[in-house]
C-alpha cells in the first residue's frame, strides 16, 4: 500500500536519506527504529509531504503521490502524529477533533475518542490545546486527532519523545489497541522495546539507509544477543 522508491534527501551536504527502497503492506503495524540521526523522522515527513525528497518516488495505494501537497495526501488517507504536538491558542480539543474528523462530530463522540487515548474526556474536551496542557496530555490529544481520522495509513513520529517513562508506559497500551482503533496500516517511529514488541515488522535504519527489515521477535532476539556480546567484551 506504500512504496518508497530510491528516495534521497540531502541537507547541508549531508545525506540524510540515501536511496531508500521500502514496501509496506496493508493492515500492518510497522515500527521504525534506529539511532538518532539515522533519518527516521525525515522519512516519516517525506511520506506525509512535510519534506520533499530530492529524488525518488512515493507510491500510495498504487498512486504516485511524490508531488502531492500535504493536504492532498491527508485527503487520500495518510495521517501524521507529530513528535512535538502543535499548540493552538483559542482552539479547543473538541474543535481540533472536529477539524480532524472533517465532520461535525458530537461532543459525545469526541469524548469517546479521548477516553480511548486514556484521557478523562469531560475534563479535556473543552480545554484549549495550549501551554496549560502537559507533554503527556498533548501527546494523547495528538494521537486522538489522528485516530479520529481512521485513515488507511497513520504515522507516529516518536510518540515517546518528550514525555516521562511513567506516562509512556500508559501510552503503549494505546498502541496495543491501535489496530482496533485505526483499522489500517500504522507506522510508529520508536526506540521503545514495548512498541517494537507489538510490531508485525521492525525496520532498522542506519545512516540514512534501511539496514534491516525483520520481525519483532528476530529483531529483539538479535538486539539482546548484541547487548550480551557488548557486556562480555566490557567484562
Amino acid at each position: 500500500m506504500l512504496e518508497l522508491q530510491n528516495i534521497c534527501f540531502e541537507r547541508d551536504n549531508k545525506k540524510i536519506l540515501d536511496n531508500i527502497n521500502l514496501k509496506i503492506d496493508s493492515n500492518q503495524f510497522i515500527a521504525i527504529t534506529g539511532p538518532n540521526g539515522s533519518g527516521k523522522s525525515t522519512m516519516a515527513k517525506i511520506i506525509m509531504g512535510i519534506e520533499k525528497p530530492d529524488s525518488g518516488k512515493i507510491l500510495f495505494k498504487g498512486q504516485d503521490i511524490t508531488d502531492l501537497k500535504i493536504e492532498e495526501r491527508a485527503e487520500l488517507g495518510i495521517s501524521f502524529a507529530f513528535q512535538q504536538p502543535v499548540k493552538f491558542k483559542g482552539i479547543t480539543v473538541y474543535d481540533l477533533l472536529k477539524l480532524a474528523s472533517k465532520k461535525n462530530i458530537t461532543k459525545k463522540e469526541a469524548c469517546e475518542i479521548l477516553s480511548k487515548v486514556g484521557l478523562c474526556a469531560k475534563e479535556y474536551v473543552d480545554r484549549e490545546v495550549n501551554n496549560s496542557l502537559s507533554g503527556g496530555e498533548l501527546k494523547r490529544i495528538e494521537i486522538a486527532t489522528v485516530a479520529v481520522r481512521k485513515t488507511k495509513l497513520t504515522i507516529f513520529d516518536e510518540p515517546e519523545a518528550g514525555i516521562d517513562l511513567w506516562s509512556f508506559s500508559n501510552l503503549t497500551e494505546i498502541f496495543e489497541n491501535m489496530r482496533d482503533l485505526i483499522k489500517g496500516t500504522t507506522i510508529v517511529i520508536s526506540h521503545q522495546e514495548r512498541i517494537l514488541e507489538i510490531a508485525d515488522k521492525v525496520i532498522l535504519m542506519k545512516s540514512g539507509e534501511v539496514d534491516k527489515v525483520t520481525t519483532s521477535e528476530d529483531f529483539l532476539q538479535n538486539h539482546i544477543e548484541t547487548n550480551k556480546k557488548c557486556c562480555k567484551i566490557k567484562k
Binding site: I70, K89, G90, I91, L99
Partner: protein, 310 residues
C-alpha cells in the same frame, strides 16, 4: 418619523453587536443616529436622559441580582459624528450584565463616527460584566470611526469584567480604558481586535491599583492583516499590595504593523506586576498540523485566526 423606527438594516446591525432578536429581557436603550429611539426600564434599573450633554445615566439599585442591560448604538447616516456620554451607577452588591456596542452602516462617502464615553461607578461589592462589540459595514468610501472611552471606578470589594471586540469593518479606532481600583477589587479586561485594509486601531489601558489586594488582568488578542496598523499601550500602576497581569498577543500578516508598549510601574514594594507581549506571524507548524488533517493553507489560517480571536 421613519428615522426613529427599526428597519431591516438596523436589525442586522443590532444583531452584529448584540443579539437583538433576544433583547427584550431586562432594561434597554437603543440609540440610532444620535437619538434614543427605544427604551425600557425595570424595577431595578432606571435610565434617564442627560440634560447637560448627549447621553444617558443608568442607575442600578443596590442588591439587584442578575439583570441584563442593553444599550446598543447604531449609525446609518453618513457624515454623522455622534458623541455620547453614558454613566452607569451600580449600587452596592448589585450584579448585572451590560451589553453595549456600536454598529455603523455607511454606504456613502462621508465619514461616520461614534465616540462613546462610558463611565462606570461601582459601589461596594457590586459586580458587572460589560460586553462591548464594534462593527462596521457598507459599500461607501466614507470612513467608519469609533473612539470608545471606558472609565471604571471600583469601590472596595467590587469587580468588573470587560470584554470588547472589534472584528470587522472599523476604519479607525482609538480605544481608551481607564481604571481606578480600591481595596479587594478585581478588573478583568479582554480585548479582541482584527484589522485589515488600511485600518488603524489604537488601544490604551491605564489602570491604577490603589487599594490593598486590588488586582487586574488585561488581555489583548489581535490580528493585523494587509496594510493595517495597531498600537497597544498598557500602563499599570501598582500603588499598594496588588497584582497585575497584562498580556498582549498579536498575529501579523502581509504588511501589517503592530506596536506593543508595556509600561508597568510599581510604587509599592508589595506590588506584583507582570507584562507579557508577543507579536508574530502564524506559526508554520500550526498550519502544517492543520494541513495534515486535510485543510488547505487558507482554511488552516482561518481556523487559527478564528480560534485566536474567539
Amino acid at each position: 418619523m421613519e428615522e426613529n423606527k427599526i428597519n431591516e438594516t438596523d436589525k442586522k446591525l443590532l444583531n452584529e453587536i448584540t443579539n437583538y432578536d433576544e433583547i427584550p429581557q431586562g432594561a434597554y436603550n437603543i440609540r440610532k443616529n444620535g437619538q434614543g429611539i427605544e427604551r425600557r426600564t425595570t424595577e431595578n434599573v432606571n435610565i434617564i436622559t442627560k440634560k447637560d450633554k448627549p447621553g444617558i445615566s443608568i442607575y442600578v439599585k443596590e442588591n439587584t441580582k442578575f439583570e441584563f442591560i442593553h444599550i446598543p448604538v447604531i449609525i446609518t447616516e453618513s457624515g454623522l459624528n455622534d458623541l455620547v456620554y453614558n454613566d452607569f451607577y451600580i449600587g452596592k452588591n448589585a450584579n448585572v450584565i451590560i451589553v453595549a456596542g456600536c454598529g455603523i452602516h455607511n454606504d456613502h462617502h462621508k465619514n461616520s463616527q461614534h465616540d462613546g464615553i462610558h463611565r462606570f461607578y461601582l459601589e461596594e461589592g457590586a459586580k458587572v460584566k460589560y460586553v462591548e462589540k464594534h462593527y462596521g459595514e457598507g459599500k461607501g468610501d466614507g470612513q467608519r470611526i469609533l473612539n470608545p472611552v471606558t472609565e471604571v471606578y471600583l469601590k472596595e470589594g467590587s469587580s468588573m469584567e470587560m470584554e470588547s471586540a472589534q472584528i470587522k469593518g472599523v476604519d479607525s479606532t482609538i480605544r481608551e480604558t481607564k481604571g481606578e481600583l480600591a481595596a479587594n477589587t478585581n478588573f478583568v479586561v479582554t480585548e479582541k481586535i482584527m484589522t485589515n485594509g488600511t485600518q488603524i486601531a489604537k488601544t490604551i489601558f491605564d489602570v491604577k491599583l490603589n487599594g490593598e489586594n486590588a488586582s487586574t488582568h488585561v488581555t489583548s488578542r489581535s490580528v493585523a492583516t494587509e496594510d493595517s496598523k495597531q498600537e497597544f499601550t498598557s500602563k499599570i500602576y501598582g500603588n499598594s499590595k496588588c497584582f497585575a497581569h497584562s498580556e498582549c498577543d498579536a498575529i501579523i500578516k502581509d504588511n501589517a504593523r503592530v506596536i506593543a508598549t508595556p509600561e508597568i510601574t510599581a510604587n509599592n514594594v508589595d506590588a506584583n506586576l507582570i507584562h507579557e507581549a508577543a507579536i508574530g506571524k502564524i506559526a508554520g507548524d500550526q498550519i502544517i498540523k492543520l494541513k495534515t488533517l486535510g485543510l488547505s493553507e487558507e482554511e488552516a489560517e482561518n481556523e487559527i485566526i478564528n480560534g485566536f480571536l474567539r
